[in-house]
Structure formats: structure tokens, C-alpha cells
Amino acid sequence: MSPTAIPSTVESATPAVKEKSAKPDLRFKRLDITMKRHQYQPDALIEVLHVAQEAFGFLEEDVLDYVAHGLKLPLSKVYGVATFYHLFSLKPSGAHTCVVCMGTACYVKGGDKVLEKLQEELGIELGETTPDGKVSLMAARCLGACGIAPAVVFDGTVGGKLTPEEAVAKVKIWAGES
């Protein structure tokens, strides 16, 4: 990702936080509880971001802003940490996620072919979401499920010993949903 500055960041962040004060958002409540549990220590940042990611689905700017205020951290530091780790996402993901394991065992057993076929079928690259917002295609470094290589995680369920065709068949079911 190239450095892109979005001029509307601050404006878009503030209303959401204000809205929160008007109508308590339970998700922000969860953040409060987590931060309190960690006594608002700045070193709890990653733990709090985990909770935020789980509660909101992805890390919106207003959420990052909220966390930075809570833990008394500079905004750029929070942004730096949030973008360092693969598991934190700053963009919403699709309704379904398809995570292809690209560990060595899976690679040797054709995980790359599975990925290729999925990219072809979905018409997107790794890390992208289909234009209709239905499917996000991602890769994992290693799921540690090498015994059943090649493995793909479909919405949190691990599928093993997959052929490219089998993987595509699973994804096609989602595509058919309305």
C-alpha cells in the first residue's frame, strides 16, 4: 500500500465518537472494559486492538482514535502498530472469507495452484474483496495444519487435502447466495 493520506480522516472520526456519547455503543463499551482491565496501560495496545477488531470487524479510524485517547498514545504510534500486524485490518472484509494456507507443506502439495484457481474464479487478487463484497481472499503463512495440506479456511472452518476444483466449489456456493 502506498502512503495515502485521506483528508477526511479527522472529520469522519469525530462524528462517530460523538455519536457514541449520544447513544452508547456497546462495542465502545467493550473497548472501555478491556482498557480498564489493563489499567489503561499503553502496553495493552495490541490486546485492545484484538478486542476492537473482534467487536467492529475491522479497525475504523474512529476506533483507532478512541483507543489512542484511552491509552494515551500518539495517533501515529497506534496507526503504526495497527498496520504492522497482518491480523489487524483497516478495511472491512467481505461477507465470507477464504484463507488459503501458503505454508511450505501446502505449497509443496499444490497450495499455490489452489490459490491461483481461486483468484481466477473470483477475479480478485490476494488480499482483495470481490466487488459485490461477498468474498475476501486471503493467505495465511501457515495454519499449522500441515498434515492435511493443502488447507483452506472457509469462514473459519478448515478444509484439508483440497484440489483446486474442490476449493472453487466451496466458494461458488457463496457466490450463489443472494
Binding site: 490486546e47 511450505t104 499449522g144
Partner: protein, 543 residues
């Protein structure tokens, strides 16, 4: 809690256990093939056949033979069923009353099992990882008691030193020496960190240990804490391992409830608490200084050593960092003594090592073998060789390791021998490759990995891996010349010698080792420079 009470729990648990125990694997790998469905059906079948008094179904951790999972094993008959599907569960139970079981009956005496020496994995697949009582029933937490009441901290450190245990995370640093250094550091506040950020693709030993026998690691951490004078431990686990995290959380709670963790353990003045920290997807956090940064809530950027974490680690305090498997060895050493442990393995590599045997191999899964066993014994005898074709190479050590060619299969598996042949032990991934595997492709695969995982802090690793990846791609696209190959080798050496942390220093290893043993595959892809062709063909150079 005292020793009497601990043994009472063990006695009660043994009395509670049924004579026939049906072990159903509930680890990540087998879950992918509906192990939970099998587990449920087995329980239902036991009920249906009114066998509750005699038979119990236990969800256990990994039995090792992951490639043939899901596995169901029955004690005391030592029957092993492979590739079970949920529908077959009833027949397995019916077989106890004289019926015939449908699933494939495996050979529990197969070299895959018979050749193993189980120290760390002794109870993996035998006990329910979610019940501390089962762990206590097999002697759990007795080592911790022994350490606290029968040994001084210095004596514990000495036992670990004498055992010859070396770090199982990759480097092979003598564990006792690390402990001794932290123990000698002044200061009231010290930390223990258990490194469970198992990131090598193709390796899942640590996941399996944490999923199968979490208390083994917790107890090892507590003993380490006692030995070096730390009362706070962190266990850093990859977020990709949710089951391991859940079982650790449960384990910590249960141990706290029994007074085996927390304040005044076994009514002694020794306090030890353990917190879990969950990684967020960064391979570099397996590097100890990066891991510390991450626990402190920052970007996982490694920092130059010295000072080593043993002197100045977490929150600037002396910190002992050991890998999961290293810590899982501790209780056995304390229980059986350093001499017993040192009798396993080779002169300079003591004990056993767990390997994740994967790739193009007939029997894939986890094996625990004594150090010094040859690659050939592992690959051919235990692994059953390559399904079709020939073994071409064995990759050990993941992105930091190298590819060992077929001709060197008689290399003993120990820290020094592997390093001598240009690879390394690493955390224990062992990926078998056959004739169909392109070694240049493998080198590119690992470089792609390192390129994606470099933190970006230091120049050689951040930009060198990108250039190396581009060079490998150019070779694979048949656009590279002999000069390009020479340039790539020089860059490999530069990245190896100048990078800040282990990730960069070892990133060129897969390239260097494949160049060493499979240079002809690279050379076959080289082309003459275009200007020599006598005509200016259009070119598609890309970076």
C-alpha cells in the same frame, strides 16, 4: 495445596477413569475433518450401548499421525483407527461388544510410532488437555513441587545445564546457560517468556504441545520462574492457534484454582503468575527482541543485541525467553534427572526433538525422535518415503534453513550436523520434496515469505529480500544471465552478514543451500545476454 493433596487428586482421578478409554483426536488438523462430529457420535454410541460404566470417550490432543487423521485410539487394547468418519463411530463402539469396526485399523507398531522416543509428547493424545486432573494423575506438577521443596534455585539451573538441553526454537543456545545468566542478574523484577509464536511454515510442534498438554508448558514455566527468580510469566501465542489459546486459558484457570499457579504455590513463598499474550500475525515476532516489543504493545521491530534480553528484556528487566518445546522438556528433566536426559541423543545435542514431517511423504505428522537419528531413518523408515517418485531433498529449518539433498540423507539430525550441511534445526519443520519440486521455485517461495515478513527496519533485510525475490523470479522467467546469478550470490552474503536480526541473517539460507546442492537447476535456467544475440529483440524487463 501440598504434595499429599496433589497425590490425592491423582488417586481420585485414576479411580474415576474407566477401564477402557477411547481417545478421539480433537486437534486442529483432525477437526478439519470433523473430529468433533466423531467425538460426539462416539459419546452417543457409548450411551446407546450402555457402556458408560466401562468405557469413556476422551477428546485428546494430537497423536501425531496427522496425515491419516482423524484418529481414534483405544486403550488398553492399543487399537488405532485411521481416517475415521463420523458415521463409523458407532461401529467402533460396537466392536467392543464383538462387532466389526468399519474404519481402517492402523498399525500402532508401525515404525512411525515404534521409532519414536516420547519425552515431551509422552502424554499427548493420551490425556484430556482440558482437565488438569488428568495431567496430575500422570504425575503432573510433582516436578514443580520437587523443585520448590527439594532443590534450591541454583540446583534447578544446574540440573538443566547438566542435562545438555538446548533451545528448541532454532538457535540451539544452551538452555542452562541462559537460565544461569538470568538467575545471576541483579534485580527484583524478572520475567519468563514462553515463545509460542511458531511461525515457520510447515511446522506445528508447538501448536500440538499447547493443544495436547498445556500444563506441561505451564509447569515448565513455573519451574523456570523458581530457578531464575521470576514471578511473572508471559506466554506469547500466535492468534492463528485459537484452540491452543483456549486450552492455555483453561489450564491457567485450573492451575490457579488448585494453587499451582498464583501466590504461594504449594504453600511456599514462591509466587508465579502467567499471562497470555496473543500475537497478531507477524513472523518476525518469533525473534526474541521483536517479541518483547510486541508484548510491550509496539511494532515487532527487533532491536540490536547486546544487551541481550537476559540482561535487559521485557520492561528493561532481566528476561528468560524459551520456546514452547524447550519449556516442555523441563518437567521430565526435573523428574528423572539430568543424567537420564543426557543419556538420550548425541554428544552435543541431548534429548529428543519433535519434527513436523510434511510435504511429499507417505506418513506425515508429528514425530518425536532422539537427536542423532539420521534423516534417512526419519524419511524412509518412519515416513515411508515419497508416495510416487524419489526423494529429492529435505528442507529443515523453514525460511531460515536449507534444503538437504538426497545424497546427504545419512546426515544425523542434530544442531551441529545440520548446520554443517548448510541448513539448521530451526523449530522442527521437515518438508520432504520429490523429483517434481523445482528447487529454484522453493528458494523463491521462501524468499517471498521473508520479503513479506521482514519488519522493514534495517536496510539489507527490507530491500535485500525484495531484490533477491526479483532476481529469483527473473531466473525462473528465463531472463537472467550468469552475471545476474553471481550478483544474487553476492547479495545473499551481504544480507546474511549485515542484517539486524535472525530473520534477515538467515533469509538467504534457502537460496544459498539450493545453490550449493542444486546449482545445475539454476544454471539450466540462465540465458545469454540479449545484446549478444546480434539483434535487438524487444525485451520485457521488470524489476
Amino acid at each position: 495445596m501440598d504434595l499429599q493433596e496433589l497425590r490425592e487428586i491423582a488417586r481420585e482421578e485414576k479411580a474415576r477413569q474407566k477401564p477402557v478409554r477411547v481417545h478421539c483426536c480433537t486437534s486442529t488438523g483432525c477437526r478439519a475433518a470433523d473430529a468433533m462430529g466423531i467425538y460426539g457420535n462416539l459419546q452417543a454410541a457409548v450411551k446407546e450401548h450402555h457402556l458408560e460404566d466401562r468405557v469413556e470417550v476422551i477428546g485428546v490432543g494430537c497423536m501425531g499421525f496427522c496425515g491419516r487423521g482423524p484418529l481414534v485410539q483405544i486403550d488398553p487394547d492399543d487399537l488405532l483407527y485411521e481416517e475415521v468418519v463420523p458415521d463409523q463411530a458407532t461401529s467402533i463402539i460396537e466392536a467392543m461388544n464383538g462387532g466389526t469396526a468399519q474404519p481402517i485399523l492402523g498399525d500402532s507398531q508401525h515404525p512411525f510410532f515404534a521409532r519414536q522416543t516420547r519425552v515431551v509428547r509422552e502424554y499427548s493424545g493420551k490425556i484430556d488437555p482440558e482437565r488438569i486432573e488428568e495431567y496430575i494423575a500422570v504425575g503432573g506438577y510433582e516436578s514443580l513441587h520437587k523443585a520448590i521443596y527439594e532443590m534450591t534455585p541454583a540446583a534447578v539451573v544446574e540440573q538443566i545445564s547438566k542435562s545438555g538441553l538446548r533451545g528448541r526454537g532454532g538457535g540451539g543456545y544452551p538452555t542452562g546457560l541462559k537460565w544461569a545468566t538470568v538467575a545471576k542478574m541483579p534485580g527484583d523484577q524478572k520475567y519468563i517468556i514462553c515463545n509460542g509464536d511458531e511461525g515457520d511454515p510447515g511446522a506445528f510442534m508447538d501448536r500440538s504441545i499447547l493443544e495436547s498438554d498445556p500444563h506441561l508448558v505451564l509447569e515448565g514455566m513455573a519451574i523456570a520462574g523458581y530457578a531464575v527468580g521470576a514471578n511473572h510469566g508471559y506466554i506469547y501465542v500466535r492468534a492463528e492457534y485459537p484452540l491452543a489459546i483456549a486450552r492455555l486459558q483453561k489450564g491457567i484457570q485450573q492451575a490457579k484454582k488448585y494453587g499451582l499457579l498464583g501466590s504461594q504455590i504449594f504453600d511456599s513463598p514462591f509466587d508465579f503468575k502467567i499471562d497470555i499474550r496473543i500475537g497478531a500475525g507477524a513472523f518476525v515476532c518469533g525473534e526474541e527482541t521483536a517479541l518483547i516489543q510486541s508484548i510491550e504493545g509496539g511494532r515487532g521491530n527487533p532491536v540490536p543485541r547486546p544487551p541481550y534480553p537476559a540482561e535487559k528484556g521485557l520492561y528493561e528487566c532481566p528476561t528468560l525467553i524459551n520456546n514452547v518445546e524447550t519449556l516442555a522438556n523441563i518437567t521430565a528433566i526435573i523428574r528423572n534427572g539430568a543424567d537420564w536426559y543426557a543419556s538420550i541423543g548425541t554428544e552435543n545435542s541431548k534429548g529428543t526433538k519433535i519434527f513436523a514431517l510434511t510435504g511429499k511423504i507417505r506418513n506425515n505428522g508429528l514425530i518425536e525422535v532422539p537427536m542423532g537419528i539420521t534423516l534417512r531413518e526419519i524419511v524412509e523408515d518412519m515416513g515411508g518415503g515419497v508416495p510416487d517418485g524419489e526423494v529429492k531433498a529435505v528442507q529443515t529449518g523453514g525460511p531460515s534453513g536449507g534444503c538437504i539433498p538426497k545424497s546427504m540423507l545419512d546426515t544425523p539430525v542434530d544442531y551441529d550436523s545440520l548446520r554443517q550441511v548448510g541448513s539448521m534445526m530451526g523449530s522442527g519443520g521437515m518438508v520432504v520434496m520429490d523429483d517434481s519440486t523445482s528447487m529454484v521455485g522453493i528458494a523463491q517461495f521462501y524468499m517471498e515469505f521473508c520479503r513479506g515478513e521482514t519488519c522493514g527496519k534495517c536496510v539489507p533485510c527490507r530491500t535485500g529480500t525484495v531484490q533477491l525475490y526479483a532476481m529469483l523470479s527473473k531466473i525462473l522467467k528465463r531472463q537472467a544471465t550468469r552475471d545476474d546469478l553471481a550478483k544474487m550470490e553476492a547479495l545473499c552474503e551481504m544480507v546474511r552478514d549485515t542484517s539486524l536480526c535472525g530473520l534477515g541473517q538467515t533469509a538467504p539460507n534457502p537460496v544459498l543451500s539450493t545453490l550449493k546442492y542444486f546449482r545445475e537447476e539454476y544454471e539450466a535456467l540462465l540465458v545469454e545476454p540479449e545484446y549478444l544475440n546480434g539483434q535487438a529483440a524487444l525485451h520485457g524487463v521488470s524489476a
